[in-house]
């Protein structure tokens, strides 16, 4: 009987496993970014039109910016479990990251809505547009354009923060790499691969954000 070596080297399979982890990272980030942006848009609009709405949402925003995301993940995970409604690691981290994304988005969108001149909206209304029409074709496009660079910044943050989902058991890229490291005992090589992946994902987006910001300020 052949003995099985305790540690085995890096195999092609491992790269496939890392790729799968990268897929999980992207999948989680995609949900959090899409849902978070939509929710953040609604919250930002509510905050800009209603004092009470603003007062309520500010509490959420304040907490999600002042408590480490790691703790937010653990607390929400524990809360669902404590109330006999355990969520899968993916669902739980999507919920937390969505709220996290939404609260940051609501902050820039609130400022964005308030920066659109009242005159433009009045002009649109006096052309016979309804509130909804003016909102859809005047206010929102201007607001989204102005806040695009900040939005890119938030997206980058959330992309990188998906790595924290590992603490509640979601096997994304970084957690996957740790599992491989445990078997192969080659932390440097595996971590470098992971680092290059994150960098290649984030750097172009950061460049795009910087370019847009420069273009808008001119």
């Amino acid at each position: 009987m052949n003995s099985v070596p305790l540690f085995s080297g890096l195999q092609p399979n491992d790269l496939l496993y890392l790729l799968q982890g990268a897929g999980h990272t992207l999948w989680l980030a995609l949900w959090a970014i899409v849902l978070g942006t939509v929710l953040g848009f609604l919250m930002g609009w509510l905050r800009s039109v209603s004092k009470i709405g603003n007062g309520l949402i500010v509490i959420l925003v304040d907490v999600s910016r002042s408590v480490p995301l790691l703790i937010q993940l653990i607390v929400v995970n524990a809360a669902f479990a404590a109330f006999r409604f355990p969520l899968s690691p993916f669902l739980c981290s999507s919920v937390v990251l969505t709220l996290y994304m939404a609260s940051f988005c609501s902050e820039i969108y609130k400022g964005g809505f308030e920066s659109v001149p009242q005159n433009l909206q009045k002009a649109a209304r006096s052309l016979g547009m309804s509130y909804l029409q003016a909102f859809v074709s005047v206010t929102a496009p201007i607001m989204l354009r102005r806040t695009f660079a900040s939005w890119i910044g938030i997206v980058l943050g959330v992309l990188k923060d998906t790595s924290l989902a590992a603490v509640i058991g979601y096997i994304e890229l970084l957690r996957g790499s740790q599992i491989i490291v445990t078997r192969t005992q080659e932390p440097l090589l595996v971590l470098l691969i992971v680092g290059v992946f994150y960098f290649l994902l984030c750097y172009p987006i950061a460049r795009l954000g910087a370019k847009v910001e420069k273009g808008l300020s001119q």
Partner: protein, 224 residues
């Protein structure tokens, strides 16, 4: 929907959390101070005429900003370990968060320097000041209020990032909480308590920043 909160274990474990709290504060302040010093060097190096200095500084800034902080901590802890450099988790986390903070702060500082009119250097020269005098008496006082909001946010980020120490077994506030809750499995109560502590710490930092901003007459509001 009938969960019974039990706060007694949390109160009893509170003295065990205090050393963790102190370590969190140490990590935050040390990484911020070291990071600020390095950030000034990076911001200066990025506009340096020496290609190699510029390359190193740009690489530092871009890697720090475009990879997760958790990855940087793993790199400092497991990666350096593989190279034969034996670092304990405290220095690994301190090093990684300093690396991260320096990268972000360098951009904040560069933004501030861009915000001050470069013609003031020439004006300073015309008044008979040398470059160092111009920087410390003319540019720096204008730089401080420009940098303060960004630097303040970064200080809060450093505080929140120290919680990642738990992942490499460091007994800072989050790590200490994790250890304490593992004795009673009251993880929900324990982490709510820790969340409140972090919240209060972040608010204290914000208050300090308001004070600093008033002191320097900064007009921009400090966020977070």
């Amino acid at each position: 929907m009938n969960y019974h909160f039990q706060w007694a274990p949390v109160w009893r474990a509170f003295p065990d959390l205090l050393p963790g709290l102190i370590m969190t504060l140490e990590l935050t302040l040390l990484s911020f101070v070291l990071g600020s010093v390095i950030a000034f060097v990076l911001a200066w190096g990025k506009s340096s005429s020496s290609r190699s200095a510029k390359g190193i500084c740009v690489a530092w800034i871009e890697i720090a900003r475009n990879t997760p902080c958790l990855f940087q901590i793993y790199m400092a802890y497991f990666g350096l370990g593989a190279l034969g450099v034996d670092v304990n988790s405290f220095y690994a986390v301190l090093g990684a968060i300093t690396f991260n903070t320096a990268g972000y702060l360098a951009e904040v500082i560069r933004g501030g320097i861009d915000g001050v009119d470069p013609r003031q250097y020439r004006a300073g020269t015309a008044l008979g000041m040398n470059r160092r005098q111009t920087f410390s008496r003319i540019i720096l006082p204008q730089l401080v209020p420009l940098i303060l909001p960004g630097a303040g946010n970064q200080l809060i980020w450093s505080l929140l990032n120290t919680s990642l120490g738990m992942v490499v077994g460091l007994q800072e506030l989050t790590g200490a909480t994790y250890t304490a809750q593992s004795l009673t499995f009251r993880s929900f109560e324990f982490f709510i308590a820790t969340a409140i502590i972090y919240y209060v710490l972040a608010k204290l930092v914000t208050l300090m920043l308001y004070g600093a901003a008033r002191l320097y007459g900064g007009k921009r509001r400090v966020q977070a």
